[in-house]
């Protein structure tokens, strides 16, 4: 019955409750959106690796990432690996993290030098133009083209070299690591490297497990590291997560504190308005414990509705956001929702605890003066 009273009281204060839900919901939505942006960006790290067409990635010894990494292995390793049992083909890319200039704007980019012959690791989905490049030509992400106003036939600068844009690729843009493709010979010139590759992209023979092939390469070829595509993806995502975990945790904590304050304030106002009712409940025989329970129910209802609102708002942002701002890449994960849900529970508990002292001090004697 006290539960029914609790819910009916919330319904009676609709305007206040809706205001609280919106305010708390927005703070939860911020957390979900921060996470979604981060997950989206991190997920983009994997997109190139997953589409490059390799079962096993071979790189310089002691290197285990592509993100924020440098790797150089001698060209001879490509032929050495090609001779191994279970290897179907070996491709190679050169790779550089650098700034490129497009449309007068500087943009950090992964620059991938692709061998013109068979182009493993080149663009896999074209939005416009062509993906096969001659020396002095480049393929840039279509989103980067839109953001910088650089189209087919325009020039971009990488280091001290100018490249003509001949194609716009899909699925290769993210804020932190858009992927630009140039011929390997041009990138080798920029790096002043001859006879070196950055990563080897190895395809396994049918029936050969990539894990076994990677192990064989590590065992039989000196001075290289070998990881399957899922292992390299995991390693890159882990590295990116480590770099962002503290920032995300701080943002989550700040929003959780904000949500706690908002829920606490809403309950404080609600409890103040219901002081007369709390007095009545105490005279009837309800204990502080019952009333804490009632306030907790109110906190949980507010938080649950705010959470639902936040999921809806963040979901809408995830759909609409990238259309309005192509720079955004949002990915709402179940894990992020669980995390915010748990934070919501903690918020409800914390907000209730802040009111415990106030509830305990409600004097049933005031029933005589109401």
């Amino acid at each position: 019955m006290i539960g029914r009273w609790t819910l009916k009281e919330l319904l009676r204060a609709r305007a206040r409750v809706v205001g609280s839900i919106l305010a708390v919901g927005v703070s939860f939505a911020l957390v979900i959106t921060f996470r979604a942006v981060w997950e989206g960006e991190t997920g983009q790290l994997a997109v190139y690796l997953e589409h490059a067409g390799a079962d096993v990635w071979v790189m310089q010894a002691h290197v285990s990432n592509m993100h924020m990494a440098s790797s150089y292995i001698s060209e001879g390793k490509r032929y050495e690996i090609a001779q191994l049992e279970g290897v179907q083909s070996v491709g190679a890319i050169l790779y550089l993290n650098t700034m490129l200039e497009a449309g007068g704007r500087q943009w950090f980019s992964y620059v991938v030098g692709v061998d013109e012959a068979d182009q493993p690791g080149g663009p896999w989905s074209m939005f416009e133009g062509r993906g096969d490049m001659e020396p002095g030509e480049a393929v840039i992400p279509a989103t980067l083209s839109r953001l910088t106003g650089t189209g087919i036939g325009d020039e971009i600068r990488i280091a001290d070299r100018l490249f003509e844009v001949v194609g716009l690729s899909s699925e290769t843009f993210s804020v932190t690591n858009p992927v630009t493709f140039v011929p390997a010979v041009d990138l080798a010139d920029i790096l002043s490297l001859a006879g070196y590759d950055s990563y080897l992209l190895v395809r396994a023979d049918p029936g050969v497990a990539p894990e076994d092939l990677a192990a064989r390469i590590r065992e039989e070829v000196d001075g290289v590291a070998a990881l399957t595509t899922p292992e390299l993806v995991e390693s890159d995502v882990q590295l990116a997560s480590q770099m962002g975990t503290e920032v995300i945790a701080l943002m989550t904590a700040m929003c959780a504190v904000l949500a706690t304050l908002l829920v606490g304030f809403a309950l404080f106002i609600h409890t103040s308005h219901n002081r007369r009712e709390l007095v009545i409940l105490k005279t009837v025989g309800f204990s502080n414990r019952h009333i804490y329970g009632s306030v907790l129910i109110q906190a949980l209802v507010l938080t649950a509705l705010a959470f639902a609102f936040a999921v809806g708002l963040a979901g809408t942002l995830a759909i609409v956001g990238p259309r309005l701002a192509p720079i955004l890449s949002l990915s709402i994960t179940f894990g992020a929702l669980v995390q915010v849900g748990i934070a919501g529970l903690a918020v409800a508990l914390a907000a209730t605890l802040t009111l415990a002292h106030r509830i305990a001090r409600v004097d049933p004697m005031s029933a005589f003066n109401q």
Partner: protein, 291 residues
Amino acid sequence: MEASNILSTKNLSKHFGSGAALVRAVDDVSLDIDEGEIIVIMGPSGSGKTTLLSMMGGLMRPSSGQVFIGDTEIWSLSEGELPKIRAHRIGFIFQAFNLLDALTVEENVRLPAQLAPGGVRAARGRMEELLERLELTARRRAHPGTLSGGEKQRVAIARALINRAPLILADEPTGNLDSRKGMEVSMILHDVARDEGCSVVVVTHDPRVEDIADRVLWLEDGKIRDRRSEVHSWVRDPVCGMRVDEWTAVHSSEYASRRYVFCSQACLDRFQQDPDTYVSAPAAARQEVES
């Protein structure tokens, strides 16, 4: 304590302040209330009536003394135990009704049953019986905001009775009601004590409630005494014609160098709006003319 005593107080005192500012709101009050007995406690404003009632009901801790409800000395219990006593052994009725506005009539009545063994489900029959008896069945789905004062007080009485508490404590139960509804509520309390066997303690200024009392106690300066032996000075309320004790009446007004007393605030208000009507033809005289 006698076996049939529902409520006993032993040397109960409540003092506020200290030194020269010491106020003895209740001073060494001892009394026993039997099963089914109706006690009316009267006294001037600020005489400590509500303080005494609060200590009896486990709402205010006394400075000294004891309160027994049955065999239980309630002020020896922990703060956590007191709500249970209020839930199972005491029913409260207040001047301001104190109903929960968000709940319907039947939900208000049922509310304390949540704390009783068996819960709300077990109390369904009892609730139906009380709604029927207090003529609230037709209003069971109404919210307090739509009820008259008399109906609200009947809901409060039903709520006080739902858990079959042996003791009903009522603070000015007729204070917000006109004379007819006040009498109606008084009679309900009388019937409740008779039929349910519970003891009723009523704190009031309203002399009409005396009519239902087995004992009338007078509290003044914190001391209590039996008032049945005292002499009354009965006069008529010029508005409603009700008999009022001029010595103890709370509502009074001076007009044309004469003091008039009233049974309730409502009668006083009506008098003050147009005193000539009531002075030139007091209620008793008007009734005679009408008859």
